[in-house]
């Protein structure tokens, strides 16, 4: 068990910076998720921790030890790869046993430990098969078993669920959560899937353009986004974002005044601003009773809820209501935005206005 620290770590290829002067403290036993769109530097950050990429500058520490110059094998880590990285010429048993064998574990110990790891991920019946004869989910389990067969200081997981189909992903996610709870090993997990990040993480680091733009608990990231990027990246359906201006506490778009901000709003006057409100904080009411009156553009029933979309000039607004709501396309409705859950962002910088 160990903490992981990045101190001013940069990875550059020529003039292209994959990771830009990044510092990060990951506590012992913490489950940290690096979340961001592709190309944001999350995988590069993880690969530098693993020792598969060399940082251009900065220090990486595992525990108290600076590991910049250590080979991957000397860092005492285990990693699960997106494509599993299984050894196709070895049986499942030999795949799981490999980290033990290559590190010189006594032969008598290897068998029981492989069996124990296989049991934890329910692979016992498949030990003699080759990876080729396994399904995607089973291969994923082999990769997991290979990671947990030793007790490394740190687990690194690089989009481990992204190659699985949707249903399997959900069940594997729960298994991962359970496994990490039982094992209590520091874990760094890379994903572009915000649901995975929200459900698994103790803390989420949202990355964009090689930098962490916000670091906090899933609740903080979701309820208190610091930038427009974080606000728009987290949440499904995404947060409603409407560009406009604020004059004397009234938010207007190019179409005209839209709604009066509550007294708690951080600004009364602001030039370019983006107003954000999550779909679940918008309720559908009778015309004239809400903040905005509009015509229904689309109605989508997702089973557990109903998404009502309206058009406001060029912008669209989505309201998430309970599944019993009945509205029709072209019907006039009112929308009420929860005054406590309005987010205001500065237009040019994307920074949250507080």
């Amino acid at each position: 068990m160990a903490s992981v620290s990045l101190k001013g770590v940069t990875k550059a290829w020529g003039s292209v910076k994959g990771v830009d002067d990044q510092s990060l403290e990951i506590a012992d036993r913490e489950f940290l998720v690096l979340l961001g769109p592709s190309g944001c530097g999350k995988t590069t950050t993880m690969r530098m921790i693993a020792g598969l990429e060399e940082p251009t500058s900065g220090d990486i520490l595992i525990g108290e030890r600076r590991v910049n110059d250590d080979l991957p094998k000397d860092r005492d880590i285990a990693m699960v790869f997106q494509n599993y990285g299984l050894y196709p010429h070895m049986s499942v048993r030999d795949n799981i046993a490999y980290p033990l064998k290559v590190r010189g574990t006594p032969v008598a110990d290897i068998g029981p430990r492989v069996d124990a790891a296989a049991k934890q991920v329910e692979l016992t019946a498949l030990l003699e098969r080759k990876p080729k004869a396994l399904s995607g989910g089973q291969r994923q389990r082999v990769a997991l078993a290979r990671a947990i067969v030793r007790t490394p200081k740190v687990f690194l997981m690089d989009e481990p669920l992204s190659n699985l189909d949707a249903k399997l992903r959900v069940s594997m996610r729960a298994e991962l959560k359970n496994l990490s709870h039982r094992l209590q090993i520091t874990t760094v997990y890379v994903t572009h899937d915000q649901i995975e990040a929200m459900t698994l993480a103790d803390r989420v680091a949202v990355m964009s353009d090689g930098r962490i733009v916000q670091l906090g608990s899933p609740e903080q990231i979701y309820n208190d986004p610091e930038t427009l990027f974080v606000a728009s990246f987290i949440g499904s359906p995404a947060m409603n974002l409407v560009a406009g201006r604020i004059d004397d506490g009234v938010f207007s778009t190019t179409e005209g005044p839209l709604l009066t901000l509550p007294d708690t709003a951080p600004v009364r006057e602001h030039g370019q601003v983006v107003l954000g409100v999550r779909p679940e904080d918008v309720s559908v009411v009778a015309p004239g009773e809400g903040d905005i009156d509009a015509t229904v553009f689309a109605v989508e029933n997702t089973g557990d809820s109903v998404l009502t979309t309206i058009r406001l000039g060029a912008e669209t607004l989505v309201a998430r209501s309970d599944r019993y709501l009945k509205t029709d396309i072209d019907e006039r409705i009112g929308l009420r935005c929860s005054p406590d859950h309005l987010y205001l962002f500065d237009g040019p910088s994307g920074k949250r206005l507080r």
């Binding site: 285990a78 990693m79 494509n83 599993y84 050894y87 196709p88 010429h89």
Partner: protein, 276 residues
């Protein structure tokens, strides 16, 4: 009217005929050689399929003055030693080319291949002069060196293709699992590339086994190989086709057995690296 089914049948028939014709074109000369090897000299030019077979040709080619046994031995040693040296070195080079970013890598790879563009006839004389000074003329060592120069570029390129086909994830997983780079190569890369290495090995063996020009110029007595041995049968009494055929069979048979033994690897190797 030709229905769809008749058309398909017609097409299939044409295919079968074309394949049979192709096989015939490939096999008839070999069949002719195989028959000639068991015929008396006088019968060689007659296209008789029924004749009294004789093994005399085989015993004659192994006897003086032809002494095919020595040449068979020379060929085997040269081809085998070439492969044994070439494949490990080529594998190491191919691995480096495949996995590490080296300065001038593309240029180096092209240069390696470019050595193959020079016609052998052009460089055989410098080789002769060099080998004369080094005392390597008419030695097996000399022939191995020449064959290495011929097969290496080929082997490096071919094996690089196979190693390129191994997912990098697999190697990185092994590195993280606790392997050194050498252990990764031994435990992961070599087993996974094995069919490719076997394929490359066979190609190299065949090239070295059949190499003619350098062996012709650089050997005279002791280190003569089988293909050169064949030329001995153009004697004063005319072309001794029956003896040449017997020697031809002796050259072909080891290749044939080799191909049979490793054809599973061969197909695997041919389909692994290249198409991906």
């Amino acid at each position: 009217m030709i229905t769809g089914r008749t058309r398909r049948r017609l097409l299939e028939t044409c295919q079968v005929i074309a394949i049979l014709a192709f096989i015939a074109i490939m096999l008839v000369p070999i069949l002719w050689i195989a028959l000639a090897a068991f015929k008396e000299h006088v019968d060689v030019y007659q296209l008789k399929l029924v004749f009294e077979p004789t093994l005399e040709n085989f015993s004659r080619v192994f006897a003086e003055p032809y002494d095919l046994g020595t040449k068979l031995f020379n060929s085997t040693i040269v081809a085998a030693v070439t492969v044994v040296i070439a494949i490990p070195i080529a594998t190491a080079a191919a691995y480096a080319f495949s996995r590490f970013r080296l300065r001038g890598q593309t240029l180096l790879l092209v240069i390696i291949l470019a050595t193959q563009f020079v016609p052998a006839v052009v460089i055989v004389l410098p080789f002769f002069l060099m080998f004369r000074d080094l005392g390597l003329l008419d030695t097996l060592t000399g022939l191995v060196i020449v064959n290495l120069a011929i097969v290496m570029p080929f082997a490096v390129w071919m094996i690089k293709g196979f190693i390129d086909g191994i997912p990098i994830d697999t190697e990185e997983a092994a590195l993280v699992d606790g392997s050194s780079r050498l252990q990764v190569i031994r435990n992961i890369v070599l087993p996974m590339a094995a069919p490719g290495l076997v394929t490359a090995g066979i190609f190299c063996f065949i090239i070295a086994w059949n190499e003619f020009l350098f062996a012709l110029i650089l050997t005279s007595k002791k280190a003569v190989t089988l293909p050169i041995g064949l030329a001995l049968f153009k004697a004063e009494e005319g072309d001794l086709w029956n003896l040449m055929a017997a020697a031809g069979i002796i050259i072909m048979v080891p290749m044939f057995i080799l191909a049979l033994l490793i054809r599973r690897h061969f197909v695997q190797g041919m389909t692994m690296g290249a198409v991906r």
